[in-house]
């Protein structure tokens, strides 16, 4: 597959990228103690973590198209972006389990089986688990690069699940979740188009 000439390949190490990824979380930790999370702080956190998860997942999906189409190679940051996304999914889930539902397992289970948006969100989380679990070098060597590549295709349905989850949980049809879904569909569509 043709790759546009690499026009831009930052030299920056990866650790600042990890650090930058933590900033939103740190900002919310600060808000918990010193700020104002609004009238319903639990929902504020739940929504913020969900939204950051989706943003980082989308950023991860954008890396290959950016390289192929625009010659911008951020490949070496992809793992940092992916793990950061996973961190926010985990925080999002923890807010839901601990703060929103207060570990009421009966209610949580009922939510998972009865509410399509929770079912789909949960599916997204489960799909991401093996990816997070294989994102260190030893794991890649262990399962082999080809299998690793194949396994990590799971990120496509996972991101789609996250975006659909967002569209399903809102009342009526506000713009924002549709914009996110639109971006995800474009990034996935690009892959289908490139293969065709």
């Amino acid at each position: 597959m043709a790759i546009a000439n690499l026009r831009f390949q930052p030299r920056l190490a990866t650790w600042p990228v990890y650090l930058a990824g933590l900033l939103p979380a740190l900002w919310y930790v600060y808000q918990i103690f010193h700020g104002d999370l609004g009238a319903d702080p639990v929902k504020t956190l739940e929504h913020a973590m969900g939204e950051w998860a989706l943003r980082f997942l989308i950023l991860g999906l954008a890396i290959t198209p950016l390289r192929r189409e625009f010659g911008i190679s951020l490949l070496k940051y992809r793992r940092a972006v992916g793990l950061t996304a996973f961190l926010y999914v985990v925080l999002h889930l923890l807010v839901y389990l601990l703060l929103d539902q207060g570990l009421d397992w009966a209610a949580i289970w009922a939510d998972i089986i009865k509410r399509p948006y929770i079912t789909i969100g949960m599916a997204g989380f489960l799909l991401l688990l093996p990816l997070a679990g294989t994102s260190f070098n030893a794991a890649i060597r262990w399962i082999g690069g080809r299998n690793w590549n194949r396994l990590h295709k799971l990120v496509y349905p996972a991101v789609l699940a996250g975006a659909v989850h967002y569209v399903l949980l809102v009342k009526s049809w506000p713009l924002e979740p549709l914009v996110y879904l639109g971006i995800v569909l474009m990034l996935l569509g690009w892959r289908v188009w490139r293969r065709a």
Binding site: I32, G38, A39, D40, P41, V42, K43, L45, L99, D100, Q101, G102, D104, A107, A110, D111, K114, R115, P116, Y117, L168, L169, K171, S172, W173, P174, L175
Partner: protein
């Protein structure tokens, strides 16, 4: 109505307002957000219908609102509603009434006793507040305009004014405007049903539905239509905005009912805004008819509330 069976609704002692709201909050809450309310603030008379529960802070009540005419985010109404002109304000009362007309709000308020009613408010999204409303029973207004004998329902309409309501402007329509709501006539005439003109002893802030809004404490919050410009009596069940938008999710009645889930979320519990415990506050069980069952369950005897949700 059986007040005797409602321990929660005992005669409320006269409570100095400073006990439940501090002055700084009043200033912060009303200073910038509210332009002009319905008119002069009238001293409110305490009501035996008030709950003893601790009212939610003025700040939370006035900064966390669903009022899609001003945007879909809960902080949008506080940000955008300041522009709304609420004076002068006319309410068209028409349909099956003996005295239809375009009534000036000031004239409607003449001779009305403004009461303080501290009500629980349960949002369909699973959160709740306790709000010290000021207002008068809808029944007082309806009686004045003399419903005809065939009238069975009351329909309500919110203002449409895209120049002052940014949520109504633009191409992307979140709901079909105007926002419309309705009640059965007996629900409308029930003494708990309130037309609110204020809260916390001040004129109603715009983001809470100034200058005149409906409050039906045993129904989900979205039944409490805001900034009312039209009240019509009819013999047919009126259309209601959320029912038009998603009929399988929102029924005409929309009584608070922990046993009937919204298809997308459970209604068994609720989060009380500003509850003690902060982030770790436990959800509370939701009560049938939002805790007003003793007063209103009789309106629905013989009805299958799963069917008429």
């Amino acid at each position: 109505m059986l007040l005797r069976h409602a321990p929660d609704l005992s005669e409320r002692e006269v409570t100095p307002r400073d006990l439940y709201v501090n002055r700084r909050q009043i200033l912060a809450g009303f200073g910038g957000l509210m332009i002009a309310g319905a008119g002069n603030v009238q001293a409110a008379v305490k009501s035996p219908f008030s709950t003893q529960e601790t009212p939610t802070s003025l700040k939370d009540i006035t900064s966390y609102n669903n009022f899609y005419e001003f945007g879909t985010d809960k902080s949008d109404p506080a940000r955008n509603a300041g522009r709304l002109t609420v004076k002068p304000w006319k309410v068209k009362i028409d349909g099956m009434v003996g005295k239809p007309g375009d009534y000036d709000l000031d004239d409607i308020l003449k001779g009305m006793t403004i009461e303080e009613r501290i009500y629980r408010m349960r949002c369909v999204e699973g959160w709740s507040m306790v709000i010290p409303w000021n207002g008068f029973p809808l029944a007082s207004l309806l009686t004045r305009v003399e419903p005809l004998s065939g009238a069975k329902y009351v329909a309500f309409e919110t203002l449409v004014r895209p120049s002052e309501m940014p949520g109504q402007a633009g191409l992307f329509k979140i709901l079909d405007w105007p926002y419309v709501e309705g009640l059965r006539l007996d629900e409308a005439m029930h003494p708990l049903t309130l037309l609110a003109t204020g809260l916390y002893g001040e004129n109603l802030p715009n983001q809470n539905g100034a200058p005149l809004r409906l409050v039906v404490p045993w129904k989900y919050g979205f039944k409490g239509i805001k900034s009312i410009v039209r009240i019509s009596l009819t013999d047919k069940e009126p259309r209601t905005s959320w029912n038009i938008q998603a009929p399988q999710e929102y029924g005409f009645y929309s009584n608070v009912n922990p046993a009937v889930d919204h298809p997308r979320w459970s209604q068994a519990t609720e989060r009380r805004i500003g509850d003690t415990g902060g982030l770790f506050a436990k959800r509370r069980p939701t009560l049938p008819f939002n805790g007003y069952a003793d007063q209103v369950a009789g309106l629905y005897t013989g009805m299958d509330l799963r069917k008429f949700y």
